[in-house]
């Protein structure tokens, strides 16, 4: 255990000391002498961000539901706390036991965001754990990783011993069972890894090598352990109703990003928007039954007392029984002043009857994501939304009293021209006209339209995985052009930093040669790269140069569809041919219907998972 007296003395010197104390309601304390496996769930960002991550709550509950496993949490200490820890020799500790993470059996990171890689390395350093897998023997914890970024694990291949590919609810327990079994005898890390790599969904990077062509693309992947699988298959949960979901979730003391009961109502998405990685890597669309959802919400509300319930998923309005669920929730919680929030709402299938009901309880702003200003570009990205489908529901919303609207867009989508950029302004002004061109007595509230433009980042396992990202200069140009012509005090325009988006694009589609760059950057002080004030972009540029890496090779290069991609060894269930086809259709501006309308043969049907594929 770390020196608590020293720790407490210094906690008053840092911002929000409650980040580091633990002991929250529903946190789990076990006897470390009597458990067989100590697992540290590591979220590579600060407490407030990590505690808002539903995945952590699920896996924390899952592992702790096993009597002989104790799962604790560890978050990245903020800059001020890191300084305090270094000055006083306090190693990185898990917040339940306050034990240093080097004392654990496994340290499992969730990779939600490419720009958290430097934080991962920093946390290992703070925990006195060697960064590279090859430097860790049996006296150190196993360091594993999962999450969406694990779909392309290669840029951090030499840091982790194991990657978990896909949904973790089953495979993580299988991995832990294997570990416990191996620990009974003479434990050898090498032997354990050789057995682990045979579990479906487990990737052990050390059993493979990669060679490159003259032009920098990948020539070939070679197995160094012949019993390792050639292809790693993504793990997918078949039965969402009986899959583990916690009955209690930890209630933080301090304000976190999402301070509410989060109910996962479905997994996957039917829409097939071509830029969206989540929509592809979580196929097929699988709903939970209303009874399951309501039961889970009731237990979570009883265990927490939160004031808001959030129905979370990639596209909640696609749940076939959403209306039933909301009516039931309103019946139970309406008079208890509990708000019900529906993030990820799709414009076209919004039932305004429902929305009006929700409005009576708590009023929140409306958020929609048209992503592109013109119909042409929306068709390219397969965001099947016509102008009428955007403006129609908005008019209804305004008539019902809403006056705050947020619209998400992206710059840099494939085939985008300046006309498409300007069209964002046209759309925004149409929304404004919609609000004001009504009889005066119908106009309630002050209109506030916020336009938020992100920079498109091509991601692995999407039809756009071969696309070139716009270079930073182009992004700045587009942003300034849009900014210049949006001159209305009711309309606010903001855009994401192209520098962060450029870095994200490099790592999203990076390969093994980036690993040393990331380690180098961390050694030179890079951390919290996703936080604008902390990003040391100049240092990153230096690191690329120092390691002879041309960053734009990864981000801005238009790739050949026959190129070997670093993530080709992973089978997510959706075929590469489908993605190629979608890419061709995109460039021709041809749309693809959603999974409920018509099966487009992406490959999931052959995997016999069920969900929406069963309708075929």
């Amino acid at each position: 255990m770390v020196n608590i007296k020293e720790l407490e003395k210094h906690l008053l010197e840092v911002e929000k000391p409650a980040r580091y104390i633990g002991n929250e309601l529903n946190s789990i304390i076990k006897n470390k002498q009597t458990v067989n496996l100590r697992y540290a769930f590591a979220f590579p960002d600060i407490y407030e961000v990590g505690m808002s991550h539903l995945g952590m709550h699920i896996l924390y509950g899952l592992l702790n539901s096993k009597e002989d496993i104790w799962c604790e949490r560890v978050f990245a200490p903020w800059i001020d706390m890191e300084e305090v820890m270094k000055e006083n020799d306090i190693p990185l500790f898990a917040i339940e036991s306050k034990d240093s993470i080097s004392e654990f059996d496994m340290v499992g990171f969730t990779l939600q965001y490419e720009l958290s890689y430097s934080n991962v390395i920093n946390m290992l350093k703070l925990g006195d754990i060697p960064i590279r897998s090859a430097d860790r023997d049996e006296s150190y914890p196993l360091v594993i990783a999962g999450g969406p970024c694990a779909m392309n694990p290669e840029p951090v291949y030499n840091i982790f011993d194991i990657f978990v590919i896909g949904e973790g609810e089953e495979v993580l327990l299988e991995l832990c069972d294997l570990y416990k079994e191996e620990r009974k005898g003479n434990y050898s890390k090498e032997e354990f890894l050789k057995k682990a790599c045979k579990i479906e969904g487990i990737y052990v990077p050390e059993f493979y090598e990669v060679t490159y062509n003259e032009d920098g693309t990948i020539r070939e992947r070679i197995k160094t352990y012949d019993e390792a699988p050639d292809i790693v298959k993504r793990r997918i949960i078949k039965d969402m109703d009986n899959s583990y979901f916690p009955e209690k979730m930890i209630v933080p003391f301090i304000d976190v990003v999402h301070d509410r009961v989060v109910a996962e109502v479905l997994r996957g998405c039917i829409r097939g928007c071509r830029f969206c990685q989540a929509g592809m890597i979580f196929r097929p669309f699988r709903e939970k039954k209303p009874e399951t959802i309501l039961k889970q919400i009731n237990m979570l509300m009883e265990a927490s007392g939160h004031e808001e319930i959030s129905l979370s998923s990639l596209s909640t309005s696609d749940h076939s029984q959403l209306e039933t669920i909301i009516i039931e929730l309103l019946k139970q919680y309406g008079d208890k002043k509990v708000g019900i929030s529906l993030p990820s709402l799709r414009l076209d299938s919004v039932s305004f009857d429902l929305i009006e009901q929700l409005q009576k309880v708590r009023k929140s702003g409306l958020t929609f994501a048209p992503e592109a200003g013109t119909q042409r570009l929306r068709d390219v990205i397969n965001k099947n939304l016509t102008e009428e489908q955007i403006l129609g529901p908005l008019k209804t919303a305004f008539d019902l009293g809403w006056s705050t609207v947020k619209l998400y867009f992206m710059f840099g989508l494939p085939t985008e021209t300046m006309d498409d950029v300007y069209a964002i302004k046209d759309l925004a002004y149409q929304v404004k006209d919609l609000f004001f061109q009504r009889p005066k007595e119908d106009i309630k509230g002050n209109l506030k339209v916020t336009l938020s433009a992100a920079c498109f980042i091509p991601k692995p396992f999407t039809p756009f995985q071969w696309a070139a990202q716009d270079d930073m200069e182009t992004f700045y140009q587009k942003a300034h052009n849009a900014s210049r012509i949006i001159k209305d005090n009711k309309v606010k325009f903001n855009y994401h930093d192209p520098k962060t988006s450029f870095l994200e694009a490099i790592f999203a589609r990076g390969d093994r040669r980036l690993a040393e760059v990331i380690i180098d950057a961390c050694d030179n002080g890079c951390k919290f790269d996703g936080w604008t004030e902390q990003l040391k972009f100049y240092t990153w540029s230096e690191m690329f140069t120092k390691n002879n890496i041309d960053a734009s090779f990864y981000a801005n290069r238009l790739r050949d569809v026959d190129e070997n991609l670093p993530w080709d060894f992973i089978d997510i269930g959706v075929s590469k041919n489908f993605l190629k086809n979608e890419y061709k259709k995109a460039l021709a501006g041809v749309t693809t219907p959603n999974c409920k309308e018509k099966c487009s043969g992406c490959g999931m049907l052959q995997n016999h998972i069920g969900g929406v594929c069963d309708r075929v």
Binding site: K5, L11, I21, L25, D255, G305
Partner: protein
């Protein structure tokens, strides 16, 4: 409407959660218990719940109070026991009574008693006793730094500290009792006392402050049986 005064403790690591965080913990506990609490009117209704003067971050307490207003008359012991089961480990419910009066908790508060333990103490008990006497009798002047562009204020310790007693020492620890007065011009914080002790030459590495009780003008605890 029925008002209840509840006494609770906030100890160990909970000294690092703010007053606002504490409020939220109580709100959620009450929400979980489905107590028939009254809500305010208006667009954003909130629970009718009020607290006394906040303690500083880093200070424990065994004598904290808050009040709630319920729609029904419920046995105070039932409120106390059900709340007690619903709070984090180091927050305990000590007592609960019906309150028939009209004054807020803050209006009723006049004195706060604290226990202060100095750890890795490097001066002598005599030196400390001398400083304590000076603080309470002649008073020592100090400057109160204020937030938000307000001018710093010159204050005197004897306006805000009624008693300061050195109880004794054991090994490297020295224990004291301090009684603070809450006046119209405010009061003194534990951290300001710590700074003052150090300025007066008292040396120690760590300290632990625990609020023992909140008293009204007649020197009676806010819940007095």
């Amino acid at each position: 409407m029925f008002k209840y005064t509840i006494r609770y403790t906030k100890t160990k690591e909970l000294k690092f959660i703010s007053h606002l965080d504490t409020l939220r913990v109580m709100q959620r506990a009450i929400s979980r218990l489905n107590l028939p609490i009254c809500y305010s009117e208006g667009y954003n209704p909130h629970m009718k719940m009020s607290f006394g003067y906040p303690i500083s971050l880093g200070v424990e307490s065994v004598g904290e109070y808050f009040e709630i207003e319920l729609k029904e008359n419920i046995d105070p012991m039932i409120i106390a026991t059900s709340l007690a089961d619903s709070l984090p480990l180091n927050m305990k419910i000590v007592d609960c009574v019906r309150y028939e009066g009209k004054d807020s908790l803050m209006a009723r508060t006049a004195f706060n008693d604290y226990s202060l333990v100095l750890d890795e103490f490097e001066s002598t008990v005599e030196e400390l006793k001398k400083v304590a006497l000076a603080i309470v009798n002649e008073g020592i002047e100090y400057t109160k730094i204020r937030k938000k562009k307000k001018k710093p204020k010159v204050c005197n310790t004897k306006d805000y500290i009624e008693k300061m007693e050195v109880l004794g020492s054991e090994g490297k620890m020295v224990a004291m009792n301090i009684s603070f007065k809450l006046t119209e011009t405010g009061s003194m914080k534990v951290s300001e006392v710590i700074d003052m002790l150090r300025e007066q030459g008292i040396a120690f590495k760590y300290y632990n402050a625990i609020k023992l009780e909140t008293y009204d003008r007649d020197r009676k605890p806010l819940i007095y049986r």
